[in-house]
């Protein structure tokens, strides 16, 4: 994304704050005017002190009172201006983050599956932070800088327009210098940001796999590997920080040359009888004030440059392509549902490698479908398609004879209850987690669901029972987490079920009890089950035997065993005859 494009997009976020920006501009004008006024007033006061017994106390006191009032007003206005600038900045930041987060909810799963979590998190959190810093600096300094330039220029033109023109012509030199350095350092900043992202992704992976690293005693090697990235990061950072920090001295040098030129022109003109000494000295002091903002602006330019790169990164997430939008005239399926049909479905993650091809399946309401096959044969892919985490490449999946792509995703998904092998709980209380799919559930309903999932017992033993806060590192075992995931499902009682190794981490005694609860739940409900438990599989109405992404056999236990094919082979191995 080009800088101009990023800026254009950022302006959109500022739109809502137009009134505040306008107010900030006015306040900046007031402070600048008052700040420029105080030296003049001081001068007036000094002018009133001609010497011994020649001081006009009345006029001095009058001026002093005005200075005092001006000072207090300036301070107050400045404070309010700062607060407004903060508000504008944080409002934009909040909006950008909200939008990025909203985006995450509509990103296709393929995007999430193929991007590093740490990288996306980095964009939403620290990139936005850096962007905020740049924006705040830009806001708080650019207005008053510009106004100071205009104010002092006016005074200078008033004193001697010829020398003022000289200043006017020469000063932009510092802009040229700043722009030159900014251009040269852009690629350095970019390299730095990229290396930073690489480091973050590595950090993310290694912290997630920390226990494995420790188990293999590889802490030193991993640290050495990080060192290598870190060294590159340091070099890139040093380049970016140092070269960009030349901007300030360079522009200040230009300014001191301007100052010298004004001195030269003024002095020569004065010798020739043009400008007076007094006028020259005030001219010089204004020339000094005039160039100061240029320094600030060039500093701001460096910051802004970095801010724009960071903003560009988060905008990339915000503008990533969303899932195909739901059909506008989407049809609706009620909660009474259960017929699922797959017609000639083909799908693959990697278009170069075919996975599911020409798959046909007809499931009637209330049927139990078991999906079996060796590890990694594509069982989970089928679930990805049923839930529309991914869309089919060819063919169609119909629910109640309606193509699922003609339904809203919400309408489709609310009909499925899903428990996956990989447990995911959000950080929050046990209660919040169980009520995840039904936030308005009563405590009784929640406890009821927990009891059905046989999770009530261990929850009671947690330090704060149902109000215990859990999350990523809750100290719960995989099995306990899985029980909570099941409780979460038991509460919603969806018309259809998807169980993908839902009980793989639960002990067999508990599992059997849960199976009973599932069996009751599955009564009259269509269910898709990926499982290893032979009894579960045997009782299924339809068994899909998958191998290498294809359904190689389809039927019930009896017919498949009679057939004596791959299913029989798997089944016998499962029986553990030794």
């Amino acid at each position: 994304m080009s800088n101009a494009a990023v800026i254009r997009k950022l302006l959109k976020y500022l739109k809502g704050s137009r009134r505040y920006l306008f107010l900030s501009l006015i306040l900046a004008g007031v402070t600048t005017a008052l700040t420029l006024l105080v030296p003049i007033l001081t001068g007036l006061a000094v002018d009133g002190m001609l010497g011994e017994n020649a001081v006009n106390m009345d006029s001095v006191v009058k001026v002093i009172v005005i200075i005092t009032v001006a000072t207090v007003v300036t301070a107050l206005v400045q404070w309010i201006m700062n607060i407004i600038n903060n508000r504008v900045t944080y409002t934009v930041v909040r909006r950008v983050r909200d939008e990025a987060f909203n985006k995450i909810q509509s990103l296709p799963l393929s995007y999430i599956d193929t991007h590093r979590t740490g990288d996306i998190v980095n964009r939403v959190i620290s990139d936005v932070d850096q962007f905020a810093e740049g924006l705040l600096l830009g806001l708080s300094q650019s207005f008053s800088s510009v106004l100071t330039i205009i104010g002092t220029l006016a005074f200078m033109l008033f004193i001697d327009w010829k020398i003022a023109l000289l200043v006017l012509v020469v000063t932009p030199l510092s802009f040229v210098v700043a722009a030159f350095i900014a251009k040269k350092t852009y690629s350095m900043f970019k390299l730095r940001t990229e290396t930073q992202a690489e480091a973050t992704a590595y950090i993310d992976e290694m912290i997630a796999g920390k226990n494995v690293v420790a188990a293999f005693g590889k802490e030193d090697e991993v640290a050495a590997c990080f060192d290598e990235i870190n060294t590159r990061l340091n070099l890139a950072t040093l380049d970016a920080v140092f070269y960009s920090s030349i901007t300030n001295p360079a522009t200040r040098f230009v300014n001191s040359v301007v100052y010298a030129l004004v001195g030269l022109a003024g002095a020569l003109s004065s010798v020739a009888g043009g400008i007076t000494v007094g006028a020259l000295s005030s001219f010089l002091s204004y020339a000094n004030q005039y160039t100061k903002p240029f320094n600030e602006i060039s500093g701001v330019v460096t910051e802004l440059q970095n801010a724009i790169i960071c903003a560009g990164r988060v905008l990339e997430v915000i503008e990533a392509e969303s899932e195909k939008a739901d059909n506008e005239n989407a049809e609706r399926v009620g909660s009474e549902r259960g017929d699922v049909k797959l017609c000639n479905v083909s799908f693959s993650y990697d278009k170069a490698k075919k996975l599911i091809e020409e798959l046909n399946l007809d499931v009637k309401k209330g049927q139990r479908v078991a999906i079996v096959g060796p590890t990694g044969c594509g069982k989970t892919t089928l679930i990805n398609l049923l839930m529309r985490f991914y869309d089919v490449d060819e063919g169609e999946i119909c629910l109640e004879n309606i193509n699922v792509e003609d339904l809203t995703r919400q309408n489709l998904r609310e009909g499925f209850g899903m428990v996956l092998q990989e447990t995911w709980l959000k950080s929050g209380t046990v209660k919040e987690n169980i009520a995840f799919g039904k936030p308005d559930a009563t405590d009784e309903e929640i406890i009821e669901a927990a009891k059905k999932a046989h999770a009530h017992g261990f929850i009671k033993r947690l330090p704060k029972g149902y109000d215990t806060v859990i999350g990523d590192n809750s100290g719960l075992s995989q099995g306990q987490k899985q029980l909570l995931c099941i409780a979460r499902l038991m509460l919603v009682k969806p018309p259809m079920l998807i169980l993908d190794e839902a009980t793989s981490s639960i002990d067999t005694r508990t599992e059997i009890r849960i199976q009973k609860a599932f069996a009751t739940l599955m009564e009259g409900r269509t269910s898709f089950i990926v499982a290893h438990r032979l009894s579960t599989i045997r009782e299924a109405d339809v068994i899909l035997v998958m191998r290498d992404g294809k359904i190689v056999e389809q039927g019930n236990h009896k017919t498949l065993m009679a057939k004596g094919g791959f299913y029989k082979e798997l089944y016998n191995a499962g029986l553990n005859k030794e």
Partner: protein
Amino acid sequence: MKKLFVYLKNYKKECVLGPAFKLLEALFELFVPLVMASVIDKGINGGNTAHIWQMIGVMVLLGVIGLVCSITAQYFCAVAAVGFSGKIRTKLFAHIGRLSFKNSDNIGQATLIARLTSDINQLQNGVNLVLRLFLRSPFIVFGAAIMAFTVDVKAALVFLFTIPLLALIVFAIILGGAPLYKKVQSKLDAILNITRENLTGARVIRAFTAEKAEIARFEENNRQLMARALFAGKITALMNPATYVVVNLSIVYILYTGAINVNMGTLSQGEVVALVNYMSQILIELVKLANLIITVTKAVACGNRISDVLDIKDGMETEKSDDTSDAMVEFRNVSLCYSGGENSLSDISFKVKKGQSVGVIGVTGSGKSSLINLIPRFYDATEGAVLVDGRNVKSYTLSEIRSKVSVVPQKAQLFKGTIRSNVAFGNSDATDEEIMEAIRIAQAEDVVNAKGGLDSEVGQMGKNLSGGQRQRLTIARAIAKKADILILDDSASALDYKTDYNLRKSIAEIKDATVFIVSQRASSVMNCDMIITLEDGAVAGIGTHKELLESCPVYEEIYYSQYERGDFNE
């Protein structure tokens, strides 16, 4: 925070030279008015055009010297700041790698990541700015005060009042701001965590159509973050206006007393101007300082959070112990209690001989993982002793004990790289034959074939592999390590029965290895030489399958619960 300064140690030279060149530059800046005064006095008033040209030349020269000094200063400051933060990053990363499981569980992944990334960046900015400007500002402030005293001692006394007051304001705002920014940061951590969760749990969230609820949760936290940031901003934004008022009121005071003194003839008009100018100079410096304050307070808060992590002591020290044992693994009256709460394991004793296979079975939460976690010393036993190969585990260094034990954890975790780099993770010298052998034992040959050989890519955290594929590669990884003790912690959960069966059969063929198999499935452990049955963290029975069926009701119940429908034909 203070403790972090040791990482500046190698940059002493830069830390001195950077600010020194900065001061030099400031000094040259102070000469400029004197030169200009000479232009006015000798050049203009004396009508000496040559002198004017000369002095302007001197001014340009001063500018060049200033430029050189300043760029030199920027360089040293950048080297020190970047080097400093780089050192901390390295140190912190290594430190986090060594945190005990207990401590890293407590802190949480998201927080650790934030410490290593955004916090260190902020700290770097802070150090760079402090080096560049924090010395310069006091230098100018005190310099101006001293110059004021040379003008007129009595009139300059007001500086003695103004400067401490300014210092007070500056420090009050810094100190008052720090805790506020800490609060801002904790909210930032919260939204970081929510963002992470929503990426890792995207499937579940969408399945429950909880997107809107999650958005609401994020937006609420994001709103609170903004409120806290605004409040913190309000306080730090006081800095500029407050110092402006103090300085200008001092000027007013100088003007008023100046006027009286001038009237009495004890002070000249020019001297009043000089005093006012010095006071203004202080103000200009303070404005610069105020702009730094926000960055510095944030940096201090970040530095403190980094120190907090670095300060965590693990207590996993190597200890002397005279305990001996003739077994490969022995537990002597071992109890374990995680931070507070009830015992997770109590009074466990058993002995395992070299080459034996041990099954560990029990219901969820019975302490199976806790038990095996003590063998590689992931945690320390609270009571009793764990002995490996004849010695107390506490007498080994962590790297010694970990090289003796190979673990397949419950959660299959792979790293970005290739299949080869992942399988050879614990044994970088492994030959291709050894790697393939481990893969064969782990029943993962088809994974290698499907992906296209040992050098095929593995994505971050193994995202491009299915759960079962990941699990088998983690098993291969543990086998390739060729440790004395191999532990499979319920690590076949994603495998179907057939693969699981083949896996156990081939593992049994590994020579000399002492194997622990933790499982929920009786079928996974029934052929082990010894089966430890756990209930509520205590031993319910130890023995072979046959012995336990007769003597241990807990084992019997587990076994028959699994096979009650007669799946198993004896």
